[in-house]
């Protein structure tokens, strides 16, 4: 479906195996996995701190997919979050 050489303009469906990582956070939908109180963390039952911990899985999955599927660099140099002082970055372009 896609051409073998990445064009400047892509078209059609572009599939990248890294995208499959986005499925990982869905583990949080399998309630039998964590519907119990032990082990506790800081007094929080497992049910609660496990789900809070999956937030990290969600963040990692999107960060990795973003990094690994970047095709062409867009100015400003991607990767680094722009600092607070660049908040009005949009107005200069």
């Amino acid at each position: 479906m896609t051409s073998d050489k990445p064009e400047r303009r892509v078209s059609g469906l572009v599939f990248n195996p890294w995208n499959l990582l986005l499925i990982a956070p869905f583990i949080v939908l399998f309630t039998p996995l964590y519907n119990r109180t032990e082990p506790r963390l800081l007094g929080l039952p497992f049910f609660y701190w496990f789900q809070l911990a999956v937030i990290i899985v969600g963040v990692l999955s999107t960060v990795i997919v973003y990094r690994m599927t970047r095709s062409h660099p867009v100015a400003p140099p991607p990767g680094e979050e722009p600092g607070v002082d660049e908040l009005d970055e949009g107005s200069v372009r």
Partner: protein, 545 residues
């Protein structure tokens, strides 16, 4: 009357009011007389602004009072809000980029614009637009419920019209600066709102458990309360019957989240695909906040907080539980900050939602059917007026109708917005589903979802209909055939309705294709879905045509 709280609240409210009016000039184009400008803030928000805007948009005041109230009342089931927001971003990561690109390439302002272009069908677009408006209206009304919970905690707990007056004043101010500044107003105010919210929640989740003997003691108190209560479904863990409901409600809500017009508005206002990708990783910071906040429902149990009786309805209002907790546990000045955070937290989403609804009305009803050759200036004018109508409609809702209906309608709203998924989200990938089959699927999903919701009672509040979104599988009845007869396992109604919708859409497509009915002209090209900022020959923002 709590004077210190009131003064702090008023000062912060005054600050955001000034910001709301000044926002019109913030990074402004030559003129605001174009929907790209008034309705989408010029389509140029960078990563930070987008983060505050979408965060302020999705995590509303109602969420902040209702989710802890759910945990306070029922326990673990209320925690579904966390898995919901965890999976939402990975789920939409890819489709949302296609939505942004095609909208940027073609100048679409609303999801219905996209459907119009993709399927060449004003009717299907109208259906999507009306569904969006109907789902959004009660959501705006609910922001008022959140705001009012705070106002009542500060002492404005009058009966009748006088009891609603502070709310009315707050909303008139909001309506005026949204009218003037468009999407720039909530974008700017969101900074204040979110910084206040982060501050308050972080202090609350560190200070309160320390004061009340740690999380161990808090969960102990919660367990004791649920063990003593008569309701069988509550508790600090899920039971055998509500686990499926928990998972399907989380999944259904996540699927629905970015179908809401106001979410799309926030997305389309961003500058480019990279901004969105970064935000999909950064927005979960709000989920962490929401998860911690939810636990305040248990903290309120341990602290012995009692919901106050709403003098306008005469019933104890669980939504006042977080404001009352802050009232009882924090010094007045900090409670004032916390209330301002929730109060301003109501204004940001209310503004974005009314803009989104106004955009839908203008683009997909007014321009499509009423005034076909409206100029861009006329569109902008129409949207501004529509945003006023939408907001005052929401106020009227709270003033003249029982707020309980707003909560019911919000429940329905989640189910019906989900029915636009095939026409909006699946259409981003393929035009295989036929436009007439999509209409049929929508109709079936809407009707069946409504019928199922109507049949759900709520024994706790003694209501016979619209008592919640958890359907016992036993009640599933397909023309007399009950596939899960006798089962007490519960599932989310919206999920069931969506499955029916999809099934009808697929079968309908197979049939309609046999009949060789036209599926319209696709107004988009494959390349449109990959357009990005900085591309050559990119459509100019606020283009004349």
């Amino acid at each position: 009357m709590e004077w210190v709280e009131l003064i702090v609240f008023s000062l912060l409210f005054l600050l955001v009011t000034v910001m709301g009016f000044v926002a019109a000039r913030w990074r402004a184009a030559a003129s605001l007389d174009h929907l790209d400008e008034w309705g989408l803030g010029g389509r140029k928000f960078g990563s930070w602004i987008t983060w505050f805007l979408i965060g302020g948009d999705l995590y509303t005041a109602y969420t902040f009072v209702a989710v802890p109230a759910l945990l306070f009342g029922a326990g673990a089931t209320g925690f579904f809000a966390l898995p919901y927001t965890i999976i939402a971003y990975p789920l939409v990561f890819l489709p949302i980029l296609r939505m942004w690109s095609v909208s940027r390439a073609r100048g679409y302002v609303t999801p219905a614009d996209f459907v119009r272009g993709r399927y060449d069908s004003p009717l299907l677009a109208l259906v999507v637009a009306v569904t969006g408006i109907v789902a959004t209206m009660p959501y705006i009304a609910l922001q008022l419920v959140g705001l009012e919970a705070v106002l009542r905690s500060m002492g404005f707990n009058g009966a009748g019209f006088l009891g609603h007056l502070p709310l009315l004043i707050a909303f008139v101010i909001l309506a005026l600066y949204t009218y003037q500044s468009g999407l720039r107003a909530p974008a700017l105010i969101a900074f204040v709102k979110d910084i206040l919210i982060y501050l308050v929640i972080l202090v609350a989740v560190i200070y309160l458990p320390a004061k009340l003997g740690g999380w161990d003691a808090i969960f102990g108190a919660a367990q004791e309360k649920f063990a003593a209560s008569e309701a069988p479904a509550d508790g600090i863990l899920l039971n055998a019957n509500n686990q499926l409901q928990y998972a399907t409600l989380a999944l259904g809500s996540a699927l629905a989240l970015f179908l809401y017009p106001h979410s799309i508005t926030g997305v389309l206002a961003s500058r480019g695909r990279d901004v969105l990708k970064r935000n999909m990783s950064a927005l979960p910071a709000y989920s962490l906040l929401l998860g911690l906040l939810a636990l305040l429902g248990f903290v309120a149990i341990a602290a012995g907080t009692k919901p106050i009786v709403n003098n306008a309805t005469g019933r104890p209002d669980n939504n006042t539980i977080v404001p009352e907790l802050f009232n009882g546990q924090f010094p007045s000045w900090f409670a004032g900050i916390a209330f301002a955070a929730i109060g301003i937290g109501a204004l940001v989403p209310a503004a974005i939602m009314s803009i989104a609804a106004a955009n839908l009305w203008t683009r997909n009803v007014y321009k499509e059917f009423l005034h076909k050759d409206a100029t861009h200036a006329q569109e902008a004018k129409q949207a501004k007026v529509a945003s006023l109508v939408v907001k005052f409609g929401a106020v009227a809702f709270i003033l003249f109708i029982d707020p309980q209906y707003a909560i019911d309608l919000q429940l329905i709203g989640g189910v019906i917005i989900l029915q636009t998924l095939p026409a909006v989200a699946i259409a981003l990938y393929t035009r295989w589903l036929h436009r007439w089959a999509l209409l049929a699927g929508w109709l079936v999903g809407m009707t069946w979802g409504m019928v199922l919701l109507y049949g759900i009672p709520n024994p706790a509040s003694g209501r016979a209909h619209f008592g919640g979104s958890a359907l016992a599988l036993d009640k599933l009845n397909l023309f007399g055939w009950q596939p899960f007869e006798g089962s007490t396992v519960q599932i989310y109604v919206g999920f069931v309705a969506l499955l029916a919708n999809l099934l009808v859409a697929v079968v309908g497509t197979l049939i309609v294709r046999r009949l060789n009915v036209s599926n319209g002209q696709d107004g988009t090209t494959d390349a449109d879905y990959h357009v990005d900022e900085g591309d050559e020959d990119l459509r100019p923002i606020a283009a004349a045509h």
